[in-house]
Amino acid sequence: MSGRILVVDDDTALAEMIGIVLSSEGWEPVFCADGAEALGRFRATGPDLVLLDLMLPGLDGIEVCRAIRTESGVPIIMLTAKSDTSDVVDGLESGADDYIVKPFDPKELVARIRTRLRPSASVLGNRLRIGDLTVDAAGHEVLRAGAAIPLTPLEFDLLHTLASKPHQVFTREMLLEQVWGYHYKADTRLVNVHVQRLRAKVEVDPENPRIVTTVRGVGYRAGAAV
């Protein structure tokens, strides 16, 4: 699996070390050490994935994340030295798909990147119905009354996973495994935040969700097709 990965981190030693790990996996790393230059570098290199440090000189990671999200749905994994709830949630809400807390295991990093770079969920080309939405797996599109709703690949994966088994309740752990590729207990806030982001885009009334409904104490399920 080849791909270009933009590593945005001001610590050059760590960036270089990450570069070594990425290269050994066959990926092509490109670097950027300043938050203010990150967007320019992103446009110039067109990476397949961004590894973004949360603490950056110039522009902080959350701002950079937001800026990239306005023009691209490219997978973003945040590198954070903090695991405080607020920081992690801030990062995820700014549009990051996943996060990894320093210090991390290189295998962990590689696994996270691999999950985000894998070809998208379904290539069967079938169209799924969820609520009043049509999920077009082949076209990688979500349509409401013929109009496309822009989703990031991760959000599309999440919606597609739920829609593929409309009667099944997915626990947060199941979603972590199927969408994020975690094979052990991980942070379920990841799921909560992304479900909320997804709802903000696809629900008519996000306060009263009908597409992705909560099953208290268990998890989430897709709403009935209408």
Binding site: D11, A13, L14, M17, I18, I20, V21, S24, A81, K82, D84, T85, K102, P103, F104, D105, P106, K107, K185, D187, T188, R189, R216, G217
Partner: protein, 553 residues
Amino acid sequence: MTAEQARTPASLRAAVTARQARRAVFAPARLLRRSLRVRTVAITLVLATVAIFAVGTVVSYTIAQGLFGNRLEQVLAESARATSAAQNVAVGYATDSTSLQNARFAALDSVQTAARPYGLYWARSDSSAGAAQIGDVELPENVKNLVSTQLRRALEKDGLQHWQSVSIPVAEGQVKPGIVVANTIQFGDGTVELYLVYDVADVQGTLTVVQRSLLIGGAALLLLIAMVTTAVVTLVVAPLRQAAAVSERLAAGHLEERIPEHGEDVVATLARSFNRMAESLQRQITQLANLSKVQQRFVSDVSHELRTPLTTIRLASDVLFNARERYDAPTARSAELLKTQVERFETLLADLLEISRMDARAAEVAGEPTNLVDLVREGVDALGGLAEETGTTIRVHTPGGHAFVDVDNRRIARIVRNLLANALEHGEGRPVDVTVDSSERAVAVGVRDHGIGMSQQDAERVFDRFWRADPSRQRRIGGTGLGLAISLEDAQLHGGALEVWTSGSDGTNFVLTLPRRSGSTELDRPVPLRPVDAVPERAVEPRHQETRVEVGS
């Protein structure tokens, strides 16, 4: 409605009435106890009433004495004058019966002209036989009854002027005060006793007016005293009350509260010194808070700054570790050691950061519905490797705890993991019993090993940071020494408790108890701290004292 039913409301009503009555009785008492102002005014009024009553009584008595004395003098003088006038008239007459009759009338006339008494009584003296032919005279009727034998005897004895206070009946059941003055007159060849009755009701009238004035004056004075006391007490109490309110708010954490300072008096001094105290308190607390904030910030920053280079080291050690087959033996072993120690360092750093967050009260509980039984089973599964390594069987008992409870499952899972690791570490390979149970108010997890247990001193320190039961013992799992300290904090964050029971020879039992609803403070004990399979206390050898340490809320 049956009779039985009818009785209940009646007794209920009675109870309510009784309660109301009791409240009515105790309400003033409560007011007295609670209000300084009411108490002061009440005491002042009671004392003032006693004083005014005493003074009033004395004054009233003195005035009565004075008034009566004056009147008496006047009465005595009048009657003396009348008697001598009558005596003068009586002297000129012969002693025959008609003359004596005339003499008596003349004498009585002169008496009435001179003295104007309320009544008079002209009586023959028992000892004088000479004046027998003329009869007694009483004006008006029954005046005779007012003259006591005592008075007559006194008169008979010496013939001088005597007096006595009497009550003159005026109407049915009504009397007025009077004075009877007794004198003797030489009449003919005998002696006649002349009793003059004077009405002194006017004195009583004056006295009544005086007493009424005293009463009204006293009442007015009391009212005035009450008003003045209230005003004075209010004046003194108001600043005190303000001071009390301010210290209350200060105690509640509003450190910027101050008492307004007016004037130079003692209250102002109180306000000033109170404010000075509050200021120094505020300064010190702010200083401490800042210091603590700086300290927390520092720890957090240090941990954070350490993380980036640690990540680089971790990645590098991993790359070296993965390539260790290509090196010679010592270098390969070095790569292994580097990797394990970097991992240990990492765990220690994570624990340190966690405990510093807890110290800073920055730890947040993210409660979500959790099945404690599932959580415990997952924890047991996760430690399966260690259990196998130590040859320990973990038996899970779940009589309760299947319902969802709102807890931060990350923290509770961490506690369970810590307790299990601890039990496996010290369980000597004997089975470990894990019990999950619940009650109406609480859910609990007990982790019981049958190892060598601890001494009392050890049990008391088991939640201390970096404390180890036996420093010389080799540790199988590279714990940081912060596990139980963090677990205790985690339990307390949930409003729960983490307790330990240990018996020198009978192992150790840790019990985590959490409230079913967050915020509830009442905990019972779904899982007993003393395990049910514990050796009965008497059977335990005396030197192995049973210990129970309770920590937490």
